[in-house]
Amino acid sequence: MATTLAKAEQSVEYAARIEHVSKSFATPGGQQLVLDDIVLDVAPGEFVTLLGASGCGKSTLLNLVAGLDQPSAGSIATDGRPALMFQEHALFPWLTAGKNIELALKLRGVPKNERRERAEALLELVRLQGSYGKRVHELSGGMRQRVAMARALAQDSQLLLMDEPFAALDAITRDLLHDELTRIWAETGVSVLFVTHNVREAVRLAQRVVLLSSRPGRVAREWRVDIPQPRRIEDAPVAELSLEITEVLRGEIRRHGQH
């Protein structure tokens, strides 16, 4: 299934193209290989989740795609500068919610007289109309992540990178944000590369789930998710595929305890 996908994409453009990327870090015990020969394409408008246990280098890979770090080998190409969302909201506490979004607009050269209107529109997109003047500490965790999402969308990138953005939220809020992310992805047509260690979350959101093995991170397997949206995390097909993926993931993890 994965091979047909790759073939289809060769002729068209891509949101991100990761070609034979390896990354190693210098440690006291010598060079440690974190990512090994990763090959992965994200098509325009595609939603891909990167799934893996601790030590699979999924955050490292995201940093490389974001351009915050350089690969040791291989190459990464993206269609413009990607936007990045973190597990922590990373909103600037000296600015209001609206001004955080406006800063992103300003940094990509949107003229001053358009910023306010665009920021309001983005807040409306994440259903936070009326929160323009709110300070970051006045918002709840879920609201902060939605402002962070609006700020990331303000960068108007073709690719949205998300590094476990909902991991620190409670289950109810996370559920709602899954719905919102699916809706916003469909409305904006942005490509998403979403990192998580939560199998159900990966299946709930993605068109394609890519499983990374750990130490070093390699693409172990990938699944296409054909369950129609809107999905719920407790839907039977979601649970079924999650179970299958979890078994493979457990197998990957188990290998590390055997020596």
Partner: protein, 294 residues
């Protein structure tokens, strides 16, 4: 399908609105009564207790030598006399204007210096330890050389203030910049805020609380340095500031005048902090949610 989809979206929206309402709490102004019992009453009471204890020492003849400990009334008379002679505000203004002007100079020098130390590795290695060391050197040590270099004039006072306050201000900015969370820098970089843009939009605003703490300490050092300079280097040409008033009191063996000078020095130090620096700091911290109401 389409109807279910919009139905789900609307449903999500309403649940979300409910959750947002549940998770944000309204904050209002503290009622005056609470401000009064919590903030105003305690220091007033403390002052009253000190005055009563002081008076008691005199009344019960624990200390009965007025050249050692004047009564509160004697000190009050001293204040009244200075006020009636029209000199009281002059004493205060002489010192305060010097102190604030010196502080502004220190601000103008300390801020770029702090930026350089924080951002340029070579400058940090060269000057960082010196700046930290200077902070622990009592600025009164600079008075004798400053008098010999510059003579008994206002420039000498400013030099001493600068040597006392510049290291605090520069160090405050350096530690403010050092403590900027790396996450903000990463977030800024992914948004395209690098180099000068990064400094203006991310680093400096993020470092503001540390910088303000440095300013506050810088003012305290300015004021102390100035008092040391005024006490040691008194000259008729320099006018009578609070330090000179203290020195005059010593020369005249007038304990009430000495008490008057000490109380004024204390009062001005507290007043400037309360009127300028604390509100500024509180405003910045509150707007960032760093000031938790207990």
């Amino acid at each position: 399908m389409a109807s279910t989809e919009t139905g789900t979206a609307a449903d999500t929206g309403s649940v979300e609105a409910g959750l947002d309402a549940l998770e944000t709490s309204a904050t209002g102004r503290t009622p005056f009564r609470q401000t009064f019992t919590g903030k105003i009453l305690p220091p007033v009471l403390a002052t009253v207790v000190v005055l009563v204890a002081w008076q008691a020492l005199i009344s019960f003849k624990v200390v009965d030598d007025p050249t050692k400990l004047p009564s509160p009334a004697d000190v009050g008379d001293e204040f009244k006399r200075a006020w009636l002679e029209g000199k009281l505000l002059g004493y205060i203004w002489t010192s305060v204007s010097r102190g604030l002007l010196g502080f502004l100079f220190a601000l103008a020098i300390g801020t770029p210096l702090g930026l350089l130390v924080a951002r340029v590795k070579f400058v940090r290695a060269a000057l960082g330890p010196v700046l930290s060391g200077l902070q622990s050197l009592p600025s009164v040590a600079w008075v004798p050389p400053a008098v010999l270099w510059l003579g008994l004039d206002n420039e000498m006072m400013y030099a001493v203030i600068l040597l006392g306050a510049v290291p605090s201000i520069a160090n405050g900015l350096v530690s403010g910049i050092d403590h900027v969370p790396p996450l903000y820098l990463r977030a800024g970089r992914t948004m395209g805020a690098t180099g000068l843009k990064g400094a203006v939009h991310i680093v400096l605003p993020a470092a503001l609380p540390g910088y303000l703490a440095g300013l506050k300490q810088g003012w305290a050092f300015s004021w102390r340095s100035l008092m040391a300079a005024e006490i040691i280097a008194s000259s008729p040409d320099l006018g009578v500031g609070l330090g000179a008033l203290l020195e005059n009191g010593r020369n005249a063996s007038s304990m009430p005048m000495i008490f008057e000078a000490i109380l004024l020095i204390l009062f001005v130090g507290i007043a400037i902090d309360l009127l300028i620096f604390s509100p500024l700091e509180r405003r910045v911290l509150r707007s960032r949610g760093l000031l938790v109401k207990s």
